[in-house]
């Protein structure tokens, strides 16, 4: 039997790094995750810088018919479009739309969806049935169609777009969260917490959620990527951010007409979408691994 007496000071010496620094330490080890993070950070920096440097009215939307369809050059690295606008400037400025739509819509769907999924998984029974069946009904509607319906009902604006995409992905989050909760729900430590007098809400947030987190986090980063794609698709169909805003999907859409002769018009916005989506996916994978304490050395 160990019968030693320790003072608080001595116990503090055993204190390990905080959870956040622990996760960061693991996260750093993965090169692809770091690459994802760096790209996302760069994107955010670029977005902020573009808002400061460029003026919406003169640099982004003002037409310059004399300079139409200029091939990529030093002056216009990505070339100019059919209105003579600089594609690079528009792509950089447009990052703001994609990022904000992706992040805000996922925040909405993650919050609503995960809450529903946690409740469904934890309580089970009738509650679970109602939530899941409702989700299935919504999942039966193609997401683009649902997005179009919401957009046309509430009008075309950035805010409605965020809201629409957020709502579209709620069922996916609900199902992911619920599936992640199921194996956790029957663990004995949940019973132990109940016997210890911990309230249901506290159990959900301190035991169930942390243990069911990995799939949800992956879903979040995938969701950001999906949200960006869906926003671009809606804009491509002319239902997203209203023209002439340089949303990437809208740029793809307008460049499509000239794809045979001036393919750079679609190439650069498309590349921007791809890089952004890839970066978020890499970040999600890295975060999932870093959050698992069993992977720690």
């Amino acid at each position: 039997m160990v019968k030693e007496k320790y003072t608080v000071g001595e116990l503090k010496a055993f204190k390990k790094r905080s959870i956040a620094s622990e996760v960061w330490r693991n996260y750093k080890k993965s090169p692809s995750a770091m690459a994802g993070l760096i790209v996302v950070c760069l994107l955010i920096l670029v977005t902020i810088a573009a808002q400061v440097i460029y003026d919406y009215d003169t640099d982004i939307v003002q037409q310059d018919i004399m300079n139409r369809f200029k091939e990529p050059s030093l002056e216009h690295p990505f070339g100019t479009d059919h209105y003579g606008r600089d594609v690079m400037v528009r792509v950089l400025y447009g990052a703001k739309y994609s990022l904000s739509v992706g992040i805000v819509s996922v925040a909405i769907s993650c919050f609503l969806g995960s809450s529903l999924g946690l409740i469904a998984g934890y309580y089970g029974g009738l509650v679970e049935n109602i939530i899941l069946r409702t989700c299935e009904i919504f999942m039966g509607i193609p997401s683009i169609l649902l997005g179009i319906a919401i957009m046309s009902a509430f009008g075309q604006s950035l805010l409605v777009l965020m809201f629409a995409i957020g709502l579209v992905y709620v069922p996916m989050f609900a199902r992911t969260a619920r599936a992640a909760v199921l194996p956790v729900r029957d663990q004995e430590y949940i019973e132990a917490a109940k016997v210890s007098g911990v309230s249901d809400l506290r159990i959900i947030f301190t035991h169930v959620l942390p243990n069911a987190m990995s799939p949800i986090i992956v879903q979040v980063t995938m969701g950001v990527a999906n949200g960006i794609l869906t926003a671009s698709s809606l804009s491509f169909l002319g239902l997203g951010v209203p023209v002439p805003a340089p949303e990437w999907g809208a740029m793809l859409s307008s460049g499509r007409e000239y794809i045979r002769d001036y393919s750079y018009l679609t190439f650069f916005p498309g590349l921007a979408i791809m890089i952004t989506v890839l970066a978020f996916n890499l970040m999600g994978d890295g975060l999932r691994d870093a959050l698992d304490p069993k992977l720690k050395q």
Binding site: V2, V8, L11, K15, Q187, A192, H207, K294
Partner: protein, 317 residues
């Protein structure tokens, strides 16, 4: 009887299944004396864990009363139940799934203290956790480790420390050693005994291993398919087992001596399904002595002081 801490009266728990009612626990009466240990023995699936969980109301009973210090806890609401649970705790079988893998040792042990607002300042909580850790024999350097970094014995000690955190009077030990190595089993059993003496704890000790319960219990109840078939003081039960099922169980304990040949009583056949069981003696289909009378389930009768048996063969002799 003022020294009874827990009394279970006619406890029943049926589960609804697709094929009918599953009689997990079927009319059980038990009493636990203060500071004593009641061993609850039976094979897997006989409902012994269900009894343990029902006592703590992790499972709602279908019928019956559970009197804890004279109060029927089956009728308590959530807030009252929370108060009672300070005095009743549970030690789990599997030290791997009973500890949250994302919490450190100190977080696990301090959880009941924080949830019940027993101590407020983090200083006090830290001290209390360190005290509990030393009580159960955990080195203080494990304060911030995660459960997966520790072996089964240490993990089980964490579970015990957590159960002790609220200074309970009564603990249900649900097979606390069956997931552990034999050498570690002994350590944990000794620890539980020491704790019982130190804190005047009462235990219900659930196990399928009679050799474990022998050294540990004051009284033993043998369960078969949701019913108590024999109940007696430990020494009496081992010296004079009366129910055919108890006899078979006891014959299965190995004797640690060379050359001793022991006659084993083998139980043939399979356990009767607990779903819609017939009204005959639950053990009839596997009993070597079964006869016509066994079509009616026997009552638990006292054959000598404190020794109860539910068997038609025994009562009438």
């Amino acid at each position: 009887m003022s020294d009874t801490i827990l009394e279970i009266k006619n406890l029943k728990k049926y589960f609804k299944t697709k094929r009918g009612m599953l009689h997990a626990v079927d009319g059980i009466n038990l009493t636990v004396e203060r500071g004593k240990t009641l061993g609850l023995v039976g094979e897997s699936g006989c409902g012994k864990s269900t009894v343990g969980r029902t006592i703590l109301r992790l499972i709602e009973p279908t019928e019956g009363e559970i009197l804890f210090e004279g109060k029927d806890i089956t009728k308590l609401n959530r807030r009252q139940l929370k108060l009672v649970r300070k005095d009743m705790q549970l030690i789990f079988q599997d030290p791997y799934s009973s500890l949250d893998p994302r919490k450190t040792v100190s977080q696990i042990i301090s959880e009941p203290i924080i949830a019940n607002k027993i101590l407020k300042s983090s200083q006090d909580i830290h001290n209390r956790v360190a005290e509990l850790m030393s009580t159960v024999g955990l080195a203080a350097r494990l304060f911030n480790t995660y459960p997966h970094e520790l072996d089964g014995g240490r993990r089980q000690r964490i579970g015990i420390a957590r159960a002790l955190a609220m200074e309970p009077k009564f603990i249900v030990c649900d097979e606390p050693v069956s997931a552990l190595d034999v050498s570690i089993q002994a350590q944990i059993l000794n620890l539980l005994k020491e704790l019982q003496a130190e804190f005047k704890l009462s235990y219900i000790f659930i196990t399928h291993d009679l050799s474990v319960v022998n050294h540990f219990s004051d009284d033993i109840a043998v369960m078969y398919l949701g019913k108590i078939v024999e109940k007696a003081p430990a020494e009496e039960l081992f010296a004079n087992p009366l129910h055919p099922y108890t006899q078979a169980l006891l014959s299965a304990i190995p004797i640690p001596e060379l050359g001793v040949k022991k006659e084993r009583i083998l139980i043939k056949g399979e356990i009767t399904s607990p779903i819609n069981p017939p009204s005959e003696c639950r053990f009839k289909k596997r009993c070597n002595y079964a006869h016509d009378k066994c079509d009616v389930h026997p009552e638990l009768v006292e054959v000598s002081t404190g020794h109860f048996v539910a068997c038609h063969l025994v009562g009438k002799q």
